[in-house]
């Protein structure tokens, strides 16, 4: 329990950021009309592709002789890029179809 409290104090800024972000995530899309559900899902999908930054760091830090890390890292860069690029492009294409009404 004490450990846990201490963890909270030490990481309080991080915890604030997380909590506020959760609130924001919920508030921000609270009013989305149902026709936009699919593009919104797809756009959010592209955003979590930010995980690619972790892949780049892994890749860029691993030693030249650590083949496991190199290969896994390379694979994760490719997969992450697919997520990001594919995600944004597909969302854009979808939204093109929804052009403005009236």
């Amino acid at each position: 329990m004490q450990n846990f409290l201490q963890f909270i104090t030490e990481n309080q800024q991080m915890i604030y950021v997380v909590i506020l972000m959760i609130f924001l995530g919920i508030e921000v899309i609270g009013r989305v009309p149902s026709v936009l559900h699919t593009p919104l899902m797809s756009g959010a999908n592209a955003i979590h592709g930010v995980v690619i930054i972790g892949a780049i760091i892994v890749m860029g830090k691993s030693n030249d002789d650590n083949y496991l890390a190199l290969i896994l890292g390379f694979l994760s860069v490719v997969l992450g890029t697919l997520n990001v690029v594919g995600g944004f492009v597909v969302t854009d294409r979808m939204l093109e179809m929804f052009k403005k009404k009236k």
């Binding site: 972000m21 609130f23 995530g25 919920i26 921000v28 899309i29 609270g30 989305v32 009309p33 149902s34 936009l36 559900h37 699919t38 593009p39 919104l40 899902m41 797809s42 756009g43 959010a44 999908n45 592209a46 955003i47 979590h48 592709g49 930010v50 995980v51 930054i53 972790g54 892949a55 780049i56 760091i57 892994v58 890749m59 860029g60 830090k61 030249d64 190199l70 890292g73 390379f74 860069v77 490719v78 997969l79 992450g80 890029t81 697919l82 997520n83 990001v84 690029v85 594919g86 995600g87 944004f88 597909v90 294409r93 979808m94 939204l95 179809m97 929804f98 403005k100 009404k101 009236k102």
Partner: protein, 476 residues
Amino acid sequence: MQLDILTVCYLIGSVTFILGLKMLSNPATARKGNLIAAGGMGIAIFGTIFLYQTDNGKGLHNYVWIFSGLIIGSIIGTLAAKKVKMTSMPEMVSLFNGMGGACAALISAVEFDHVYREFRLDTNSFADSVPFVHYFTISAGAIIGGISFAGSIIAWGKLNGRIKDFSFNGQHILNLLVLGFVLSIAGFTYWSHASITNIWFLITLLSAFVYGVLFVLPIGGADMPVVISLLNSFTGIAAAFGGFLYNNKVMLTGGILVGAAGTLLTMLMCKAMNRSLMNVLIGSFGTKNAKATVGKQQGGNYKEITINDTATCMAYANKVMIVPGYGLAVAQAQHVCHELEKILDEKGVQVSYAIHPVAGRMPGHMNVLLAEADVSYDKLLEMEQANDEFKTTDVVLILGANDVVNPAAKSDAASPIYGMPILEVELAKSVIVNKRSMKPGYAGIENDLFFQPKTSMLFGDAKKVLQQLVSEIKNL
């Protein structure tokens, strides 16, 4: 200095994600919002590549690997996204989501490998040398990423029909057991002998995959958009754990944002269909209930109509409203439907489409479908608009829609779709329904509309029927 600029890049990234998501939820700004988020992502990515420094002040290396990865991923991603058919969008999103989950899992694996190499000669367990928070972050990323990856692949397979719905009694109990297994192994690894933790970790990861598969397998194929949205928020959380791991703010904020927004979106999707998330995941209707309720047919009388009569009826109407539904989508009849609309238009009939937000199998399905067939936008009426128009409509032509025109949603409190807003087609003078049989639709329930005196049934596959209709009207 370099790191300071990177901090600013990340700050910009986080802000664009929030702004982008906000704009994405409004039709007028959605497209711009997507571009803004993409721009912020670009800044964060290139900032990392060129400005990142490790704790000892060194920059990144292996640029060749990094850039080839980026280029390969971009090319494949762009091509796939550009080539995919509009109606296969959810498949595509699911696949991309799976890639993100796999990426998160791989990162965790590499980080685990780092820790393992350092401590494998340790005669004690990880618990003695690795802080719990660090280990927890790594394995949470691996497990959640793994589930998201495997689940997404199954969802993709289901959507394109490669994988069939599959469920058996006790499936849910098995799932819980597997989940328990994953978590226990993950915990066990931390306290087990350091030299063999790598094997345990591998087992954790693999069993997370298994859980992902089992989790999605029993859920009805038609519910996949909801599942994808849920897995989408899982990947967001996995990305956030990556952010914890590297103390990287943009990963953290982006991941949490998607995690929270994705969860809410999943619930909103369920709400739009008037179902609960539980109901979707346990998969009670659409599978079992469907069969159950088909039994208790009300056995009313319905009237059939011939193609010929339909053609006459429509060609001499003043105002026709077309209600497209899932059946139109599976029959791929959007193009010939557009043709029908043009011919009627030439004959001086006023034609428009009534679009229900959850008609079809993904939100906005009908909008993209008809957009693909070049139907002009001002012919698409949203539900509220359409409901105002029905009063003055002569003929409503329903093409493969069922639940979205079921009056039980308004009148029968016991109906599973009770409360869902519907298209009130009964307000029109006459209603013609095209479907292949008297079988129910997605919700598996009877539709009273078909037995009303003003309704006539026009049986047959939507595409074939429309083709015949078009040639009939031409010949009139």
